[in-house]
């Protein structure tokens, strides 16, 4: 079982640009120092959601994730810029509730060599969003330029310690729809178009039986891979 993981950060406006660059470089370099970190990529969020820097990556297994957690590079280099009490912190706290999200998958279904990553965050009343996932699956193949489409429960948010055991309550965003687009133009055409999925998104997923989407938000960015 692989673990797909996202970290999303708002940036301290007072942070030195070089320090922010160092953090972004550390995310991209992570796999060289921690081999368990796979498919590291970053991006600058282009939506109005209150996060700026996004780090996406994955792990081969929960055990690999647990090794990442105790690697010195994690504590010494990444946390230096991230932990709230660190004097070198360059990020800020925010109320968006997507600091750490992710899901389990059977393989690297998320992979996108280049293009635009989009992550739709969903706060769904029900635990099972099978009907919504089925609705997405039924139409995703018809969307021009949509190369990756995965709907999954946000299991990583509450299980950030070992990747599998929830240690906090239900996360603010219960489910994710991860997308990979060939280009910004392709995503823009979808967003502004009238495909069944675009219409469903704009309507707040009305008409999806048994699924109540209370809130939705999204981030998207041009992929910068390691």
């Amino acid at each position: 079982m692989m673990l797909r993981r996202y970290e999303m950060y708002s940036l301290d406006p007072a942070a030195a640009p070089a320090a922010v660059r160092s953090l972004a470089d550390a995310f991209l370099a992570c796999g060289r120092f921690i081999p368990e970190v796979l498919d590291s990529a970053i991006g600058t969020n282009l939506t109005d959601a209150p996060v700026r820097l996004v780090w996406e990556h994955a792990y081969e297994s929960p055990e690999a994730y647990q090794r990442y957690m105790v690697q010195p590079f994690h504590a010494c280099i990444l946390d230096r810029a991230l932990l709230a009490d660190s004097p070198e912190r360059v990020v800020t706290s925010n109320s968006f509730g997507a600091g750490l999200v992710g899901y389990a998958c059977d393989g690297p279904v998320y992979r996108l060599g280049a293009g635009v990553r989009r992550l739709v965050l969903l706060d769904v009343a029900e635990d099972d969003i099978g009907p919504l996932a089925a609705r997405v699956a039924a139409h995703a193949g018809d969307v021009d330029g949509l190369a990756v489409s995965i709907v999954a429960a946000n299991t990583m948010g509450p299980a950030w310690m070992d990747g599998v055991t929830p240690i906090t309550g239900r996360p603010p965003w219960s489910h994710l729809w991860e997308q990979g687009w060939e280009s910004l133009e392709a995503f823009g055409a979808y967003r502004d178009g009238d495909s069944p999925l675009a219409v469903a998104e704009r309507s707040g997923w009305d008409g999806t039986p048994g699924v109540t989407v209370r809130r939705a938000a999204s981030v998207h960015y041009k992929l910068i891979a390691a």
Partner: protein
């Protein structure tokens, strides 16, 4: 083996007492509760016409233990309050982790266990 986390914080001389009081009054109980060991709190002279360095050192066994300590303090609301109060007092600083560096003449530095722990 013991590892150390050393925060070297810059604060204006007028805020040194407040920062040191925050360390002893809040940080020590919060971090100790999380599992870290308080080692020391030292300052440079406040009479040099520059910001004062406050150097605070915590110790723990290794990065496996640090990961548990980290989990404990991240889940502690008092740690978040501590962090916010510290930000308001400091002007800058660094955080570094240190490890024992024995004399290679008496203890080979290539000790695989020590290197791995770093």
């Amino acid at each position: 083996m013991t590892a150390y986390m050393v925060d070297t914080i810059q604060v204006p001389p007028s805020r040194v007492d407040a920062y040191v009081a925050l360390v002893h009054g809040v940080a020590v109980p919060v971090m100790t509760r999380a599992g870290a060991t308080f080692e020391s709190c030292r300052t440079t002279s406040p009479a040099l016409g520059e910001d004062v360095d406050v150097q605070v050192t915590w110790s723990f066994a290794d990065h496996v233990e640090w990961n548990l300590i980290r989990k404990n303090f991240v889940l502690d609301p008092a740690w978040h309050d501590l962090a916010a109060r510290a930000v308001a007092l400091r002007t800058g600083g660094t955080r570094r982790f240190y490890y024992p560096a024995p004399d290679p003449a008496t203890e080979p530095a290539s000790d695989a266990a020590v290197v791995a722990a770093r």
